[in-house]
Symmetry: C2
Subunit: 248 residues, 2 copies
């Protein structure tokens, strides 16, 4: 695990980092009709938080997001997408970071760079949580998947950050479906409908869903195999490679 937080803590002026700018990542996990989110808990405190961090002054912001996620959760090769900048003045609250530092036995000066106002760039991703097994870094007690309908108490505005990410995930699902890489190579229309129903958290009408999905122009129906059974097997589909949903 990395030593990064210790370096940031003793680096009172934030030398080598972009000032006032943070990254928070919302990693959604899907599997078998369940939608979860990845959270860290801090040692010696009751605080839960999104995996987040800071940007080196010679680093691309998008590159920093991948590094931060990997250093805090040990997850790599996850396709992160920017979704919103959280920049309200009212989110300025140095108390939780002060608590974390004090719990580690460090008493920060009042003008420590980590206690100043931060604007946070939010990133999100959607992965299969059975394939993404996270590990906590050295300042965290745990790093685990939590069900979206049963979240623990989160620090600062992290609950609003998750809500905004979920809103984005829902409205962009058609466009991002292939990129998320969540379906097996071949799948039924029912499999796809389950994914949508879980993410949108509502039941969909089968005929309308099928019509819409076929209308996107990204699905190819696979020639039916002889199954040998008496039951009618459902059609199988795969994504047409390199296709994006039609805009109209």
């Amino acid at each position: 695990m990395n030593k990064e937080f210790e370096q940031q803590e003793s680096n009172i002026n934030g030398e080598g980092f972009l000032p006032g700018l943070a990254i928070d990542t919302v990693i959604f996990g899907f599997h078998d009709n369940q939608l979860k989110v990845l959270l860290l808990s801090y040692k010696n405190s009751s605080l839960y938080a999104l995996p987040g961090g800071f940007i080196h002054d010679n680093e691309d912001v998008n590159q920093a997001a991948r590094r931060v996620l990997e250093s805090r959760t040990a997850l790599s090769d996850i396709y992160l997408e920017q979704f919103y900048v959280f920049g309200d003045y009212s989110r300025y609250d140095p108390a939780p970071l002060k608590t974390i530092m004090k719990a580690r036995g460090y008493e920060p000066p009042h003008d420590h760079w980590l206690l100043k106002r931060f604007v946070s760039i939010g990133y999100y991703a959607l992965v299969d949580f059975t394939k993404a097994v996270p590990a906590p870094d050295e300042i965290s007690d745990s790093c685990d998947w939590y069900s979206l309908d049963n979240l623990p108490l989160l620090m600062q505005d992290h609950r609003q950050i998750i809500d905004k990410a979920l809103e984005t995930l829902r409205s962009n699902l058609d466009q991002k479906l292939i990129g998320f890489n969540l379906m097996t190579d071949e799948f039924t229309m029912g499999d796809l409908q389950s994914l949508y129903e879980t993410i949108l958290n509502k039941k969909l009408i089968r005929a309308a869903f099928q019509r819409k999905m076929l209308g996107l122009g990204i699905l190819e129906r696979i020639a039916k195999k002889w199954t040998g059974g008496a039951h009618k097997a459902p059609y199988l589909y795969k994504f047409i490679s390199n296709k994006v949903p039609t805009e109209n």
Copy 2:
């Protein structure tokens, strides 16, 4: 016109502003099958640029975006939406701002805050350019609408910022259509198709377009009026108030 740039210029350490964080706004203008974008040109220089600025340290980032747009173009009441954070290290280029300051007779010290690395938060909007009449601020020669297919040379990465904004506008058009408030109260399917064709820069098939738009569930067909003419008048539509496009 505001005195803001002068204050920023003489404020060598950027006191009162969030360090390293800028705002750039891409204001698209539509009217009669034309799509334009709003650009400023700087006095005594050949540089064209998007209207942009900085964030006060006690101000919400979204509020700063509205203030920046109004102070630089005199346009108010425009609904701005965040679309992307431009944070690559490679965009760090102090030369254009140095040129602008020198053209104003000011020789900045090399560590002037405006010459440091900036991460820029991009905002976009779509308005009717016949209703939004901009005025240049005191550091600009002009503030005008430019056709997207005939843009002047732009400073820094402003051309890429426009391209990314256009990509976002295109893929979000269904969702944002009502909010942009570009259609008259009653319109034909042909009027709507023209808007889409202009923004997407391609011809669409009439039947497929109509089917898709009706499928969004945001249009209401108005009972036909007797027109008195011999020709078949097209149906008129209006937006169903408070409806958002159905997710599925």
